[in-house]
Symmetry: D2
Subunit: 148 residues, 4 copies
């Protein structure tokens, strides 16, 4: 995992904070913004989008990843999540799994920020989701090699 | 529900078809594209984004709605879904619920297209999800009025 | 779709109401109970199970279906949903899709009840989820027949 | 985290393996079984239940947790996951989040087993989901204390 430079990090944090302003979270009141940096240098941002049927809502990280995939991006280099206050807003397990899908063999640099963009924690996807379930696991069975 | 004009419909269908080309669907091999028209005339498109952990994948309609919400859109007027072949690709129940969240009091015009953009079915969200569970139901309880 | 008899219907409604008492819904405060009748006559019940990360929660219907599948059941004949008050609590779109997976070629009789078991609506899965996306659609592509 | 005794561990592993036999996984072909031990000593098992609309499927761990919640259980002490072959089948991020919801202040002992019940990894929920998003985070905002 190579570190992103300061100006890219700053742009990514700003994208996440701006995204949070558009959060549709009438049920939790918990607005989140996220941004991912693809390997071609493009930044994609997303906010959480809740649903009256709670399980059908979408987290901010998933929204950002959806935009990246839609633009053809398949590899995430770094990600930022910004919560609505000064407390740590870590990605939920589902979002970690979504980030991991696009981590490839590399790790993903992750910055968890407060509502003002202050970095509360610097971590990575392989740190946040160790021993992950991933494409290789399910593909081995799908391709008929090892089912028992 | 007022009908969208032909040129808008054509643009919406093209957006859905173009979106499908970016589908990340290595597990199902079933590529879907979708596009929604917001009440301000903007079009947002999305493709499905699968995950090795299947329940964490995202449908094309949800992806398009995520982009709309991220841009501040809160009301959908019309939507198009395009599947990967000549068969009908209807939105799954989860996507119907996601569309319904942004239907407001109005209905949403829905066009289901084949892979070439041919319209296989013209319908609406209130037709596809009758007697829906929606914001009013959960809000009545959340706001403490009627729990028993 | 053949109608279930009155005593079976009564048992199914009671199972749904009893299930609701165990609802884990600290975030919405909206407790739901559900019960499904499998084709061998067995009844399986479930409550909603929410999560701090809202999209990872489970609806009552899904919970009931999970228990049925776990017991080997693959065909639902009838289902009951009971909400927390006197208002209609209809299955969300996601639950309709989950019910539909186990509908086979037959329809599923659905009773929507208030918190006391009074039937507010009698309907069916093909009514609640017309023109559904189902196993046949994705299987056609998965088995390599018609992708374009 | 206190360790469960050998006979309980054995019973938990057997429950997970038996559960896998009922897996409904026609789309991935990847059968998983899981079992959780509640703080009152009861064991609840679950298999994965897939859906043609992939995001609406249910993982084995979620299924087991649903049964526990339905029986009134609110605290998990230990969990076992058994995959379909000799490779490590770790819980996906979503399942880690579901387990974490019922971890309380304590950790959860987790055994990851192969298809024969051989323990491939012994770990814990706080190890698999460090710095987790949990009930405290969202509740702080929901209860109006710290939104900014």
């Amino acid at each position: 995992m190579k570190k992103i430079d300061e100006s890219t990090k700053k742009a990514l944090i700003e994208a996440a904070i701006d995204a949070r302003a558009n959060s549709y979270s009438p049920y939790s009141g918990y607005a989140v913004g996220a941004a991912v940096l693809a390997d071609d240098g493009a930044i994609y941002a997303g906010c959480n989008v809740e649903n009256a049927a709670y399980p059908l809502g979408m987290c901010a990280e998933a929204n950002a990843i959806g935009s990246m995939a839609m633009a053809g991006g398949r590899q995430i280099v770094a990600a930022v999540v910004s919560g609505p206050n000064q407390d740590l807003c870590a990605p939920c397990g589902g979002c970690r799994q979504n980030l991991r899908e696009f981590a490839g063999a590399d790790d993903i640099e992750i910055y968890l920020c407060d509502s003002d963009g202050g970095v509360l924690m610097e971590t990575s996807i392989f740190t946040l989701l160790p021993n992950s379930f991933g494409p290789d696991v399910v593909n081995a069975v799908r391709h008929g090699k090892r089912e028992k």
